[in-house]
């Protein structure tokens, strides 16, 4: 009788936790919540604004124009056959997706303490919804990129051609999402106890952008500063941005081993992030 009743429990709340303890079944049961969070994020951001989702487009466009003026027209950084504006837009569009994922997930615990303190649902739903809702914004920004792409091809007769590597584009999205999500989950877990990291994130993301080949080609950096070029080279985001330019514009440093490297780094970070996140969610409400 006793042995039988041991097995029949639906679940147990315990003080002891295993290191890796994911309940995917539970996550699946909450899939509707995930979609509703995504919907909430997308439609509430620009409620009561006149331009609405157009704001998604204005920000990357103007940044690209400024980058083109400063880095290409003034500083004379070469962009190969690709028009400088498209070159920058490609970099900024992909960088923005990574940045939004990282920033959006890195304060998961602190921003949601009100709701986390009252009801239980798998906490991982929150950062996952951020990554998905940003994917929609990324999609809108990609449309702008494609628009300008055709403009340059048809009107300006630029000699740019998508390469066959474009088929691997989904892999790039995966790398960016995993990298941002993994890093974000680690940071958000650590900020529940030590708030210092929140200051570091805003600042650190800015620094990381300069090390991610957003406004210059890696080849140019290697040529000018060979001694510290490894910082840029080993950064998975550099791989992503360069590969994206190679796929669409035909310029950039692209190779399958590099993609595999970036994918493994971000996958590793994601797994570490998930473990730390899972450990934190159990009792973060006492420390936050």
């Amino acid at each position: 009788m006793k042995a039988e009743s041991e097995d029949q429990w639906l679940y147990t709340i315990s003080s002891k936790h295993k290191l890796i303890d994911f309940n995917f079944k539970e996550l699946w049961r909450y899939r509707d919540l995930l979609l509703l969070f995504v919907k909430r994020d997308v439609i509430t951001v620009y409620k009561q604004t006149i331009l609405g989702p157009l704001w998604y487009l204005i920000q990357p466009l103007f940044t690209s124009i400024i980058f083109t003026v400063i880095f290409n027209d003034m500083a004379g950084i070469p962009t190969g056959v690709a028009p400088a504006f498209l070159f920058n837009l490609a970099g900024i569009t992909s960088w923005n997706y990574f940045k939004q994922c990282l920033m959006g997930t890195s304060n998961t615990f602190n921003r949601n303490q009100g709701i986390f303190g009252k009801v239980y649902f798998p906490r991982a739903i929150m950062p996952m919804s951020v990554v998905i809702s940003n994917l929609i914004k990324f999609g809108i920004q990609l449309i702008v990129f494609i628009g300008f792409y055709f403009f340059y091809v048809l009107v300006k007769d630029s000699e740019i051609m998508p390469t066959r590597s474009l088929l691997l584009f989904p892999v790039l999205i995966l790398i960016m999402a995993l990298f941002g999500l993994g890093l974000g989950m680690i940071i958000s877990s650590m900020t529940t106890k030590y708030r210092d990291l929140t200051f570091l994130v805003t600042f650190g993301v800015q620094l990381l952008m300069y090390a991610s080949a957003v406004m210059y080609p890696v080849s140019f950096f290697k040529e000018k500063l060979p001694s510290i070029a490894w910082i840029v080279e080993y950064n998975p985001m550099t791989t992503v941005i360069e590969a994206f330019r190679h796929m669409t514009l035909g310029v950039g440093d692209y190779s399958i081993p590099k993609l595999i490297y970036a994918l493994s780094v971000s996958l590793g970070l994601f797994v570490i992030g998930l473990i730390i996140f899972n450990k934190t969610e159990k009792s973060f409400i006492d420390t936050v």
């Binding site: 919540l33 909430r40 303190g117 006492d286």
Partner: protein, 421 residues
């Protein structure tokens, strides 16, 4: 025989006092060092019981200590206890918001909690959108919500506003909408924490009716935490009393309420002197209720004397207010020096001073009352010092008349009955 649906075994929860809720870096390291040597966590053996009034030596406090109980399917279990007895901590652990320090909870059903209604409402979304979002947060699937959407909307009574953003709702409407969603949850175990305290009277009736339906009609298991003794008595089948993080009574709901009330009676006093009671703004030295007589009688005036010392220099007006609560933590009255044109409190004096507040003919019903004291500067709404349950006092009736002894309600007035025709 009913099935055991929830089994709580040796649940304890430890908190660290001070700035950081759980651990500091050095304690983390110490804990880790003990762990790798295979020793028991050193912090589990220390810690004080959770008593607010007593100053402890340890930085660690046990909000809950070795809690054990079983809940059978269909039980409505009332959990009562003073503020800070550990009720909310227990509910937080049960609803998986935080995890216990030691022990295990085994359950056979889905638990959903209404720790506070309206969790996750987004002001920019419409009522309809919020129903779906809130429902999903509470654990319902989209399909479940869709099948009940008409019921939820009509239960909330907000049909007209359902396509309007929730930020335009009155606070009462928001509560109605939130409760409507929560009431249509169908978990195996429902946790309710004082939600009934909000909303207007008509809505409260609706809500209590719904709770009764859930527990009686549908045979669902409910854990109900409340200060309101009468609703615990009428709604619950079983009850436990928590005191300083431990279970002091377990049994029927009626028994638990009785235990709680007698327990409070035993702690009653006419006069209490304190040392270091207060904060850096003011200290309370003593409080007395009707110090002239041994007993506090319903028929007498009620006089509260407060001896206190102000600790800070200010030229602003300082007032002392006292709120009297009954056994169910319902406010009887809120009185203080703020009602007189000139405050009797001398703002500039750093020596002990004493004031008295007299209520003429309050005719309080027999029972135990508690006083919450506040020190207020410049009539501001946020008090400089606030002390809950500063003293508990027992009001008795002088007259032994049978007629008087059974009067129900807040007051037992002196009455005259005449035949006129």
């Amino acid at each position: 025989m009913a099935r055991t649906i929830l089994k709580v075994e040796n649940i304890s929860k430890q908190y660290r006092l001070g700035l950081i809720g759980a651990d500091t870096l050095s304690d983390d390291l110490k804990r880790w060092w003990y762990k790798i040597r295979g020793k028991q966590d050193p912090f589990l053996t220390i810690g004080d019981i959770n008593e607010r009034h007593v100053k402890g030596d340890s930085d660690y406090i046990w909000a809950l200590r070795d809690i054990n109980f079983d809940v059978q399917e269909g039980d409505v279990l009332g959990i009562i206890g003073k503020n800070g007895a550990g009720k909310s901590t227990l509910l937080k652990i049960l609803s998986r918001v935080t995890s216990p320090t030691t022990g295990e909870i085994k359950t056979n059903g889905r638990i959903a909690s209404l720790l506070e209604v309206g969790t996750g409402f987004h002001p920019e979304l419409t009522g309809m959108e919020n129903i779906f979002l809130n429902g999903a947060i509470l654990g319902m699937t989209k399909k479940e919500i869709k099948s009940k959407i008409d019921e939820i909307v009509s239960f909330s009574g907000c049909e007209r506003y359902i396509e309007t953003p929730v930020k335009r709702y009155s606070s009462g409407m928001r509560v109605r909408l939130a409760f409507a969603v929560a009431a249509h949850l169908e978990p195996d175990i429902l946790i309710v924490d004082e939600v009934l305290a909000v909303g207007d009277a008509e809505f409260q009736k609706k809500a209590i009716g719904k709770m009764q339906d859930i527990s009686q009609g549908e045979g669902r298991t409910v854990l109900f935490v409340s200060h309101n003794m009468s609703s615990v008595e009428s709604l619950c089948t079983r009850g436990i009393v928590l005191e300083h993080g431990k279970i002091s009574y377990e049994g029927t709901a009626k028994g638990a309420v009785g235990h709680y009330i007698t327990n409070r009676k035993m702690q009653t006093a006419n006069y209490l002197a304190f040392e270091n009671k207060g904060n850096e703004y003011a200290q309370i030295n003593s409080i007395a209720v009707n110090p002239a007589s041994d007993n506090i009688y319903s028929e007498d005036d009620l006089e509260i004397e407060i001896d206190f010392t102000l600790l800070q220099n200010t030229n602003r007006r300082i007032d002392i207010s006292t709120a009297i609560y009954n056994e169910s933590d319902q406010l009887i009255t809120n009185i203080g020096t703020g009602y007189s044109k000139i405050s009797p409190v001398d703002s500039n004096k750093r020596e002990p001073q004493k004031i008295a507040i007299r209520i003429l003919n309050p005719n309080l019903n027999e029972g135990v009352y508690s006083i919450m004291l506040r020190v207020v500067e410049d009539m501001a709404s946020a008090p400089k010092l606030r002390l809950d349950d500063l003293i508990l006092f027992h009001v008795k009736r002088k007259a032994d008349d049978e007629l008087y002894l059974n009067v129900k309600g807040f007051i037992s007035p002196q009455i005259e009955v005449k035949k006129l025709k």
